[in-house]
Subunit: 655 residues, 2 copies
Amino acid sequence: MTADEHGRLEPEDHHLLAVRPGQPEEATTEDAEDTAEIDPAGRRALLDAPYAAVRDRVRARISGPGFSYLSEPDRETYRERILEQCRELARDGFGALGYPESCGGQGDLGQFIAAFETLAFHDPSLVVKFGVQFGLFGGSILQLGTERHHQAILPRAGTLELPGCFAMSETGHGSNVADLRTSARFDPARGDFVLHTPDVLARKDWIGNAALHGRLAVVFAQLEAGGAHGVHAFLVPIRNDDGSPAPGVSIEDCGPKEGLNGVDNGRITFDQVRVPRENLLNRFADVSPEGVYSSPIASPSKRFFTMLGTLVAGRISVAAAALSAAKSGLAIALRYGERRRQFGPADQPETRLLDYPSHQRRLMPRLAACYAVDFAHKELVRRFLARTDADSRRVEVLAAGLKSWSSWHTVATLQACRESCGGQGYLTVNRLPGLKADTDIYTTFEGDNTVLMQLVAKGCLTEYRDQFEEMSLFGLLRHLTTRTTTALADLNPLLARNTDEDHLRDPEVQLDLLRHREEHLLSTAARRIKSRLDRGMDPFHAFRECLNHLLRLANAHVEREILAAFTAAVETADGEWREVLRPLRDLFALWRIEEDHGWFLETGHLEGVKTKAIRDLVDRLCAESRRHALPLVEAWGIPDSCLAAPIAFGPAAGL
Amino acid sequence: MTADEHGRLEPEDHHLLAVRPGQPEEATTEDAEDTAEIDPAGRRALLDAPYAAVRDRVRARISGPGFSYLSEPDRETYRERILEQCRELARDGFGALGYPESCGGQGDLGQFIAAFETLAFHDPSLVVKFGVQFGLFGGSILQLGTERHHQAILPRAGTLELPGCFAMSETGHGSNVADLRTSARFDPARGDFVLHTPDVLARKDWIGNAALHGRLAVVFAQLEAGGAHGVHAFLVPIRNDDGSPAPGVSIEDCGPKEGLNGVDNGRITFDQVRVPRENLLNRFADVSPEGVYSSPIASPSKRFFTMLGTLVAGRISVAAAALSAAKSGLAIALRYGERRRQFGPADQPETRLLDYPSHQRRLMPRLAACYAVDFAHKELVRRFLARTDADSRRVEVLAAGLKSWSSWHTVATLQACRESCGGQGYLTVNRLPGLKADTDIYTTFEGDNTVLMQLVAKGCLTEYRDQFEEMSLFGLLRHLTTRTTTALADLNPLLARNTDEDHLRDPEVQLDLLRHREEHLLSTAARRIKSRLDRGMDPFHAFRECLNHLLRLANAHVEREILAAFTAAVETADGEWREVLRPLRDLFALWRIEEDHGWFLETGHLEGVKTKAIRDLVDRLCAESRRHALPLVEAWGIPDSCLAAPIAFGPAAGL
């Protein structure tokens, strides 16, 4: 560095370089375009399996006529356009994929989720509108209704002949579904249900399809029939054929939103609206003409969670759609970073943004995380489709955790992408603004992430307790007080100082660290809660006081699950592909460990010499995997017309 | 926790509570509304000093007629509205505050910056448009021009009679200003300059006021007169009086953006556009009629940086405007969090969001950071106004650092605010979407944050070198290799384990930790770069290889500066106010230390027992300061009509 007599920096400093006769550059990947090792089309086929066919059909459809993006449409035009696109998807049969064949579908939720994930490469308004109609509306009828509802509704839901709503959230109650306040009182005199909104906080809010297009709604309300039976779902017509509100129903538009303005969210208020007794979706409970309530599930809580649990496919789909948006953002930012140059050594071409370690640090771990979440999602879908009563809770916990992690990852990724593209990233035409605005809500809809992560922590605690339920109270207490120490003592103290690259890149070492973190956080969380209960604190406050700890536990659990899925996928990949994925897996694992290295140091799992080695290795892995950035992005098969951003395509930076 | 026979969670678990006969609640602040200790109006007066009068005048103006927000305006209407509001502000004299009295102003940049900061409580499009016209356009003429330019332009700039542009960035060069490619060739035959855009990458891009309203532009171009003299600024008419482009000028609209759509950003291309020789802003360099270039500053680099350095007020203002947006977001989210309830103990009112430790963790450190940055900003303005040649570089470095830290803080804060308000936070009417979208660009305009933080690191390195410039080479080398060890050995090893609350809340302890971090990162950065230079690597690559380390150094420097300013402000506050600010200062300091506790552990500055104590104390400080959340927010004096969000005002949650 040099400075003139006033201590002011020389222009080379402004350039972040000094003008010096150039030494030959050290071997770097700059200008090398060395991306021959991986073949995106072949890789895409592998990533698409086992749903390659339906994904390709969706790609073809959303690349076709009628699916180009409108520039600055007004809300009305935008919503009609999205509706028309949904109709086209319905004509192709995509909407009904998960419905039974007898209702015009293919009875294949796996295909439906894959189609949904692929559709999310297009405008997020489209996939949300699609999800509202075919997933939330049709899906809840499929899961909570019985044959009479299926036959009457699903054929028309799947074709979009009958647009519908999923009316669960209320203005005053979003996360706390059990306490929502719309009532459905059975009137034995007339043999029907009376749906009612007691006050403005109990109106249904943010309901997709409500403001304009929905005719029928699945309404969640407190069933009252000879007593209170908790939340159940009812079919309630909300609009007449001419589009006017049904008698007793008032509907309001939610108005402009940060994003998803192609979706017509609305608020619905019921004023003593009567629907036939048969409109109760009665798979899990029914009311006789005489007003007698019955259910095959005796426990009200089990019934409630069984009902909600059947809707888990929505949460799984949302996690996947968020991921698709993150992929689109990375595809744009990485392509731009590969082309755009700024500053550089004297008398040489300026440096590509993606050759700056700071730029790699921003984007490459996020690319690795997209692959990680992708494999975790595939594993979750596999478990979901094969689930039994015994493991459905685990699937629900993982779905809650993956949805939260994936949507937060998406928000952070898109922010990094936007900033990485500077002013270009701020232009609507370059897609990043829309992707950001449209997916921001993913962190709080379909379950607020913070609440979902609490459910994950509860799930961990429940498993923990089950694990030891045969243990005597004395044994459990002893366990709670010794477990952490034992776990630490089990570690070979040399491990905490081992900085060999082979060791750091050993998948078992990586997974072990995440496992130890989870176990440690779990046992300390259990102990903290227990000590509060022992002091006589009520469980609500005991749990609340430990909330930040529990949220760390939930994060540790989800990251361990994601890494386990990624690791399994790498191990079963074919040779060439495995060699590309392995450094990505290492990057993801070590990046997560680095992110929390304070915790690992604090608890003695790692020593400083090792955390430093991990940081250096993350830097190197960013630089190494940067070579494959574009092929790895291309393997996702995002149609060019969906990606659309000019900066992702121009031969020169900034165009 | 309980679970039924299927291991499924009981409903109380879904509620995150268990239904148990309620124990009496432990003493908490819930429902206490115990906010009597601080008087917002009195506090506001103190926060507003020494510019209370101008701030109140701005508050009154932006609360007045013509300043309400339009709902979903189209871009054209929106831009005209913002222009009209700027005209009104100009009529009040706010635009010219920084200009000399002879040009219709008050010659007081301090007042101008305070007005700007207050204006940023309104729609961010307004403050940006205002900044473009009166700060960038008028300000650059003030700083780079001479009397003839001042008299000719500033009176009309300050009234907005003459709308103008600041045309620096190009499509191909944003951060790298020295290499921008618009040329300004002096033609000795005709005695004028010829401005030219050689190709599309050299067009001026993202220029505020360009698409519609600007008539005259300050254009930065490579001056060629008997050789290349680097970047200089020229006055170039870009539109005729009828609004059509001036001869040789073509103008394009940048189109829709993520935010700031009330500002008409455009692209300008020059095709051999001639301007008189006198249009060179000639404070620092001139060209004689014969074409002879001269400058009072001999060194081209010093000249370049002197010119850019005069524009530092823009960066200071931007940092303050970003902060104002973060304050608005927090005001909305904290008011909502105070009212909105969700889940709770059985048979009791549901719990206020702000009583959840997770909610406090999201928002309270950000509130503390707003106060911290606010005091740092005030200190920066003070130093800026009193700056001399000797310390102007330090002011520029701090301005770069504070702008980056503040704008990143704003992005993170607004994201936390949005998520904290759930679906309500996603509605445009609740302001958070607009605040987010409008301020996102603050991280990359007026200098990309990552580039600015590199300048900060350079500044640290330069000071470091200056500090030892008298030292022999041998002494310097010895210093580089021993300094870190010395610094560590200097520490009392007991300090790293001291968990006393008095110790942790001691401002000197907090500042010492941030000082040690900065020094450590600085000496290790210098050593790393030096070892590369010694190996023969050119400075550009040596710097680039250490980039991530240097960015950590820059952050450490800025955080230490912010904490120092906050600490000084607390120490000079009056008694009652000091008692409110002190925990906020502790929260800010310990939150930053906690955030980087891995580094402090790794380097032996802290031991695990102490980092755990810090984490617990941060939790407690969040809970304690939560009591003052609303009064602390009200002390900012954001006009209700500017805040506007219904969720900030309704008596009930969600309305």
